[in-house]
């Protein structure tokens, strides 16, 4: 149980889009979270190392270049391997290329081990509320 849970943010893979994760980080900080901001172009392993060192409660990944599936395949397994079995995982952004249904993205990324999946124009306040709910459910808040 923590008063200010620690969360890791960043854009995963070789994606240079940094605005989304910056806006998200700011909103999380304003909401009282302790935010470790890894920024753009963050390799998936870096999220894990930072989470280990900071004893993070959640990882919130951004991806806007359509390659997220390739970047995060096996990420949940790596978390398990690194002793982060309990960490809350979120991902949001443009998660696939060409026309497709967002519902398919949700199903795909949940299958990959993410607790929640957001479209690019998600509501930040709602997402932060979701995060509080999920952290409470795991006894982290």
């Amino acid at each position: 149980m923590k008063e200010n849970p620690t969360v890791i943010t960043g854009t995963v893979g070789v994606d240079a889009h940094v605005i989304g994760t910056k806006v998200l980080s700011r909103a999380l900080r304003d909401a009282g979270f302790n935010v470790v901001e890894l920024g753009a172009l963050t390799p998936p392993e870096e999220f894990i190392k930072a989470a280990q060192e900071t004893d993070a409660d959640a990882i919130l990944m951004s991806s806007l270049y359509g390659m997220a599936e390739i970047d995060v395949r096996g990420f949940k397994e790596k978390c398990l391997e690194a002793g982060l079995e309990d960490i809350v995982l979120y991902i949001g952004g443009i998660l696939g290329v060409s026309r497709h249904k967002f519902a398919d993205d949700v199903a795909k990324f949940k299958e990959l081990g993410f607790d929640r999946v957001y479209p690019p124009e998600a509501d930040l306040d709602a997402a932060i509320e979701d995060l509080r709910t999920d952290l409470k459910a795991k006894g982290k808040l």
């Binding site: 070789v14 240079a16 004893d55």
Partner: protein, 456 residues
């Protein structure tokens, strides 16, 4: 006659002594004799004084005022124990190197019983315990502390520089253990922020107060003024002073020092290392403004075989192997042309390899938006001065050739070595004296330092 100030460096091979007339900012004499630290440090010290007396007249008072640095008795041996290898273990390593230490072991995550045995066998002077950002992971550093608390006598001094939120627990763990435990600020208070200064200071204090005693260096203190720092620290202080200058006198600006010794090649950079190009993405832990690296495999005597192997990739002169063998046995080189050539080749390789490992590099990664340059480590392309030090360079017949090994190469543009620096020589190999003097009289130290540098 003005007072004579004597500075001493107890090295693992040689004990070096330099005598200055500080009023006239003049080097009066510099000598070296074989070290006797493993037997009785004072024997070599007396030999050195005898040798020095042959060149200048020194009084009892001059001897008592002498101050020294030491890398003898194996140097200052540190084991780093951290959490994530690339984060707090690395931050600990950088902090220890910056304090002039020799890293004898590195461990990450929860220590196993076997690893604890390994550490005990290493018989380190200091264990530097890190782990967790402030408010971050507590479990691992606390568990590692409890293992270290139960360890045997070989683990005496422990510096704790990790997650501050774990300090009360760690304090309780060491409660009545006989170990000397010192708490200082976290080397990595948050991800991506390095804070090596406080740990540097604690390591140095420990060196002066306890470790010199354990190594028998204290015996020398009865004869001379004091042994105040490990030798690499002295060189680092000199590098810092020469780069930054004092309030009255400007320094040389950002610089790199390469010191090729018998067992190691040390590289020091005093430079911010920001990227010189736009649109470069920086990754990895930021590196300290004053950074030291030690290449334990690159020496011109004790481990010559490594340089010999590296040289095979170059075109080597005739009788190369024999001459190297000779160097290994005798150390002294006869200055006939091929011998000189071999010595130059090996020293240049040591400089080249050590600087390549010290500087940062650029890697191109492919993204959907095109290639993107990513930098890891310090960009030293714009550094203004490269100073060569240590016997192999200082006394080389062609120091310029040797130092050119430190330069940027068009064929390896991703390696961020200095592009067009002024090459400078510590001609008399006295940088350690400049560093030793810097603490008490930085103005004199700076002008002496500058005076005895030769621009190549």
């Amino acid at each position: 006659m003005s007072r004579i100030n004597i500075f001493i460096d107890f090295g693992s091979t040689y004990t070096k002594m330099a005598a200055f007339d500080l009023d006239n900012e003049e080097l009066l004499a510099r000598i070296q004799v074989p070290s006797t630290v493993d037997v009785d440090i004072t024997a070599g010290l007396e030999d050195a004084f005898t040798e020095l007396s042959k060149e200048i007249k020194i009084g009892a008072e001059d001897r008592r005022r002498a101050i020294a640095c030491s890398s003898a008795a194996g140097g200052l041996r540190v084991v780093c124990v951290g959490l994530v290898k690339e984060y707090t273990t690395e931050a600990g390593r950088l902090a220890a190197l910056g304090a002039g230490a020799k890293i004898v072991g590195e461990f990450s995550y929860d220590l196993s019983a076997g690893e604890l045995d390994e550490i005990e066998e290493m018989d380190p002077d200091i264990v530097l315990l890190t782990g967790g950002t402030d408010g971050g992971n507590k479990k691992v550093i606390v568990r590692n502390a409890s293992l270290l608390a139960r360890a045997g006598e070989n683990i005496r001094n422990i510096i704790v520089a990790g997650n501050k939120s774990a300090y009360d627990d760690i304090h309780a763990i060491f409660g009545d253990s006989k170990k000397n435990v010192i708490f200082t600020k976290n080397v990595m208070p948050e991800i991506g922020t390095l804070n090596v200064g406080p740990t540097n200071c604690v390591i140095r204090e420990l060196f002066i107060n306890r470790i010199t005693e354990a190594k028998g260096i204290t015996k020398a203190k009865k004869i001379i003024g004091d042994v105040i720092m490990p030798t690499p620290s002295a060189v680092l202080e000199a590098a810092k002073l020469l780069a930054e200058g004092t309030t009255k006198c400007p320094g040389l600006g950002e610089l790199l020092v390469v010191d090729v010794g018998g067992a190691t090649t040390d590289v020091y950079s005093v430079a911010m290392g920001f990227s010189s190009k736009k649109a470069v993405h920086i990754v990895g832990l930021p590196e300290p403004y004053i950074k030291r690296t030690v290449e334990g495999d690159l020496g011109l005597y004790h481990n010559l075989v490594n340089l010999q192997e590296l040289a095979q990739a170059e075109s080597v002169p005739e009788h190369f192997e024999e001459i190297v063998e000779d160097l290994r046995r005798n150390r002294e080189i006869m200055y006939d042309d091929t011998r000189v050539e071999v010595h130059l080749l090996l020293s240049r390789l040591a400089v080249d390899t050590a600087v390549t490992r010290h500087v940062g590099r650029i890697e191109m990664i492919v993204t959907p938006g095109g290639d993107m340059p990513v930098q890891r480590g310090k960009d030293l392309t714009a550094v203004k001065n490269v100073i060569g030090s240590g016997g192999a360079i200082s006394f080389s017949p062609q120091p310029k050739d040797v130092l050119e090994g430190a330069l940027f190469r068009d064929t390896e543009q991703h390696i961020l070595k200095p592009i067009a620096p002024q090459l400078v020589l510590d001609e008399r190999n006295i940088l350690f004296s400049v560093g030793l003097l810097a603490g008490t009289d930085s103005v004199k130290a700076l002008s002496i330092g500058r005076k005895y540098l030769r621009y190549l």
